[in-house]
Point group: C2
DNA sequence: GACTAAAGTTTCATGGGATGGAAGTTTCTG
DNA sequence: CAGAAACTTCCATCCCATGAAACTTTAGTC
């Protein structure tokens, strides 16, 4: 009866809307005004206002003096109990710290999440080069050191499924030919580590190794370095030690 | 007008329930079955099932093969964009790593949140002693090194408000007398660091210093050590350097 | 492997809470 | 200090969340 019925998959359901609102907060939007949220979610202002208000009351969002909303401490606190933080991050952090001290380079820890590399942690210093990866961020599997490792140790089927989709090519050096990637991944499995050279960012490369548990690759550690500092042998051995140490720590708990 | 309108605190509202469900995940409950969630929230099973299902579909929760729910990667990802993670943690991590390497002790970073010390990060190793504090956890202000610092640099009014409430006394050494605490806090302000001795845990003590920004104490860094390793002078100077370094990093961005 | 208790899932009639247009209020901006 | 943009409140309408009950699956026992 109502003439203007929103036809297709009505994105109704309060909860879904709330989750959509929270999902607006991403690397590019860490602080948003109500209007911006309404625009991003395409929700009516009044509805948006109400939901955001409830989320704020619950501590899931917090409003700054600049009238911008940010992710609240309550949500952050809950997230710290995700297995990701609880087991992996917590176990790996001391080792990552050592790795960072030893190499002075960008150190990253990632897991596989929805067909992408999810960066669980990273340590960056002044000495190290700027990177795109950031904790909580996703990057493609085939253009990053940690990503290649994570992909290489997947099942044949999963790998083919990944290769079947269109692959982004952020730099001219990015390898996007399925066949070339298959060879690359086979090398990773054979050597036990991956290398990338300018496949994600111009001027830098990376090396990564798997963290194995019960014969499965549960995560990957890697370093990102300036191309001319890519000292494979030294880095691989340091990384391998670190991976073993993290794996031991994981089992220890 | 509306005849039977129950005006008083109707504990309704889907969203609030959803937030309550998510809040069930705390240090003691990182994995919960549906039934457990229903019990904790006192919600009817069917209602709980529906909400949990929606949260799972949105990636806010994830169901393991053990049919237990855990905090999902989506929620975790969003939380990484909290100012806490984005600015503080990210800026402080390299310094904390160095601190950890230098001292080999438990290193913690905390902010003030709802009248408690919220641990933003901690680094623990095999060498260091076990502690209760964990990233994402809350502890009282008056029984922890970082807590005393955070409290000491609050306004007079806020301090008195804190002292006015009943103060938990986890160990016999915990200082809960308002007057004794006032003196203690004055010392912290005078010296620029705090010391605790067995006020939270038997056998261990802690030292902490403030991280200042624009004349305000925005966070505190501390170490937790075995009592007989509490080498005040050395630790204070190391911590002060670290705090300055973190503050600089915060401004740099 | 049958039996059973507990955990999880689906169903559905009902009414209470969500909805969003519109009007009112505050806060920027030039 | 206008004028606009951002934000907040209001409220009649109606849709969707509700939860008891029935049903299905899983885990534990002999």
């Amino acid at each position: 009866m109502s003439p203007a019925r929103v036809e297709s998959g009505a994105p109704t359901a309060l909860l879904e809307r709330a989750m959509e609102i929270l999902s607006c907060f991403d690397p590019k939007h860490s602080a948003l005004t109500l209007t911006q949220i309404a625009e991003l979610t395409k929700l009516p202002m009044s509805t948006c206002h109400r939901i955001v208000g409830t989320l704020e009351a619950g501590g899931f969002l917090s409003k700054g003096s600049d009238r911008k909303f940010r992710v609240g401490t309550k949500l952050w606190t809950i997230a710290q109990h995700a297995p990701l933080s609880e087991r992996l991050r917590e176990s790996a952090l001391p080792t990552l710290a050592r790795l960072y001290e030893e190499t002075g380079e960008n150190v990253t820890l990632a897991v596989l999440d929805r067909g992408q590399a999810l960066y669980v942690d990273r340590l960056v210093g002044e000495r190290s080069i700027p990177t795109i990866s950031r904790a909580g961020g996703h990057l493609p599997l085939h253009t990053t050191g940690v990503g290649k490792v994570l992909l290489a140790y997947q099942s044949e089927k999963a790998i083919e499924q990944y290769l079947a989709q269109p692959l982004p090519k952020p730099t001219p050096q990015s390898i996007t030919q399925p066949d070339a990637l298959r060879r690359d991944l086979a090398d990773v499995r054979k050597n036990g580590y991956s290398i990338t050279r300018q496949e994600m960012t111009r001027g830098s490369g990376s090396i990564a190794v798997p963290i194995m548990r019960n014969g499965r690759c549960v995560a990957a550690v890697g370093v990102i370095v300036h191309l001319n500092r890519l000292d494979t042998n030294r880095l691989v051995s340091t990384l391998t030690d670190a991976a073993a140490s993290i794996a031991a720590e994981l089992d220890g708990h």
